[in-house]
């Protein structure tokens, strides 16, 4: 099976254009402290809009949505004083672009024991782009149960939606061109926190969600 590749992130050229060599002038648009503050703000917004997050369940989309979900859960727990269930939801099998590339390795799906029936599920991801990942996540949720409501929290919204998807909670709105690539780095995965924007380079591209 030489054509198979081990897990990469939700990579892909969804509207990102071909990788072009050239000056990749990456610019850091969010520093670690800003990321922290954005997450704290989102946590408070979730608390406000869900009346104290009583039935909230956070599901992060692998890879980087997962640590983000955990961080949000921690912040909510700090405020409310009780733990918030969180986990991960892999959407590989529900993607609409499966046939365009060799089969990808699966990410981990871990739903807390309470399940999603009747819960307010907040999908958490790092970047919202075309919206196809969220569409896949909705299909995946559908096969897991029936939530009371589904909301979407993203660290970055970079525009260029291809489906009617809108986020409920946004860390930062970042207008981008399709030739640009947005990369979110998180300490749990990449050793540091940063959001970087640059031209499409030879290294892995980050897809939109």
């Amino acid at each position: 099976m030489h054509a198979l590749h081990p897990a990469r992130d939700q990579d892909g050229a969804e509207g990102g254009g071909p990788a072009r060599p050239g000056p990749a002038d990456p610019k850091t648009v969010l520093e670690p402290a800003e990321i922290g503050r954005a997450l704290t703000r989102i946590a408070h917004e979730i608390l406000e809009r869900t009346d104290g997050a009583a039935d909230v369940l956070l599901l992060g989309i692998p890879t980087r949505g997962v640590p983000l979900a955990r961080r949000l859960a921690e912040r909510i727990e700090q405020v409310e004083g009780r733990p918030v269930p969180h986990g991960s939801l892999d959407i590989t099998m529900y993607r609409d672009d499966l046939r365009l590339r060799p089969a990808r390795a699966l990410g981990r799906t871990e739903v807390p024991a309470e399940g999603i029936d009747g819960a307010i599920v907040v999908i958490v991801d790092d970047v919202l782009y075309s919206g196809r990942t969220v569409r896949a996540a909705l299909d995946a949720l559908n096969d897991l149960g029936r939530p009371r409501a589904v909301q979407l929290a993203v660290l970055i919204d970079r525009g260029h939606r291809e489906l009617p998807v809108r986020p409920d909670y946004v860390g930062k709105n970042l207008p981008t061109s399709k030739q640009e690539v947005v990369r979110v780095l998180l300490a749990e995965v990449d050793g540091q926190d940063a959001v970087i924007i640059g031209r499409a380079a030879a290294t892995e591209q980050r897809s939109g969600t």
Binding site: L4, M93, D143
Partner: protein, 312 residues
């Protein structure tokens, strides 16, 4: 060969780990209310079974259906093949029906190879004669990994696996020797000399005639089915002698290390190669192997069919 799964030798260590890790993730689906994924929607998987095998066929059927593929079952009895249609003509008919994948079980070694030359789709070998049965080896490896708590991403390094029985005629043995060794296990074959291939010394494993000597040093004992007809062809003098020297009974089981497990690809000859008390003991993984078979076969079908067509 990356389009097909015909031999365990087709899989590198990374390939094998990818299948096991994917199977691990898919196994969690068993707890869900909806055990279905949309991934292979619109694909057609044909089960082409020239040999009776309800267990394997149902396993592949369940795997394909859980991925939302359409499944067509073709069994040899009462079919055009029974009327003398050749394998090639059967293959061409499947082509015309638009099979994306053909899972083939056949009594002739090499049937999967030949089929791969006649169809454009993917060929999955579900057992060809005495040659190989790669998905069996994969589900065996998966079962071993789980039982020994090796985490996702890791192989079977250092585990001592002993395979006992009619190696000469066993496709399960051939696939397991190849795959388990690829995953880092130390494999030992135990059998009477008559049931070992002449050139077994060139295989990547150890060989022994004395079962008792190997039992205390085995983390896994895998018993192969022994057909009683072999006695008529003078491979061993009597079932009694075979059982005494190479069967796994309670006494031998008691000599196993504490954590050791007992496996069998099925169907079992209770009382011949394996005693009933062993088959029903907590060490036995025989029932789990069946369940794991569906997850592993789902992983194989997904990885072969779920993405873009691999370049040959």
């Amino acid at each position: 060969m990356n389009r097909h799964l015909i031999s365990a030798a087709d899989l590198s260590r990374d390939d094998a780990l990818l299948i096991l890790d994917t199977a691990d993730e898919l196994a969690r689906m068993a707890d869900r209310p909806i055990k279905k994924l949309p991934t292979l929607r619109g694909r057609t998987v044909v089960n082409l079974f020239f040999e009776d095998s309800t267990r394997t066929r149902i396993s592949f059927e369940a795997a394909a259906k859980r991925l939302s593929a359409d499944v067509i079952n073709f069994s040899a009895k009462g079919s055009s093949v029974a009327k003398g249609e050749s394998l090639k003509d059967t293959a061409l008919t499947l082509e015309a029906m638009g099979a994306d994948a053909v899972v083939i079980r056949h009594s002739a070694s090499g049937a999967a190879h030949r089929l791969a030359g006649w169809v454009r789709g993917t060929v999955v070998n579900a057992g060809d004669g005495a040659h190989e049965h790669p998905t069996q080896a994969l589900l065996d490896a998966f079962t071993i990994r789980r039982k020994f708590g090796r985490p996702v991403g890791e192989g079977l390094d250092g585990l001592r696996v002993t395979i006992v029985g009619d190696v000469l005629h066993s496709r399960v043995a051939r696939s397991n020797v190849l795959l388990l060794t690829t995953l880092g296990a130390e494999v030992t074959l135990v059998a009477p000399p008559t049931l070992l291939p002449v050139a077994v010394g060139s295989w990547p494993c150890s060989v022994g005639y004395d079962f008792d000597a190997v039992v205390p040093k085995s983390d896994v004992v895998m018993m192969l089915r022994v057909q009683q007809e072999r006695m008529k062809a003078a491979y061993f003098p009597s079932v009694r002698e075979y059982s005494r020297r190479y069967g796994l009974d309670g006494t031998r089981m008691a000599q196993l290390p504490e954590q050791a497990i007992v496996m069998h690809p099925g169907p079992m000859n209770r009382g011949v190669e394996i005693a009933a008390e062993v088959a029903d003991s907590p060490r036995s993984t025989i029932v789990e192997q069946v369940a794991n078979g569906v997850s592993v076969r789902m992983a194989v079908l997904y990885l072969l069919l779920g993405g873009a067509e691999a370049q040959s």
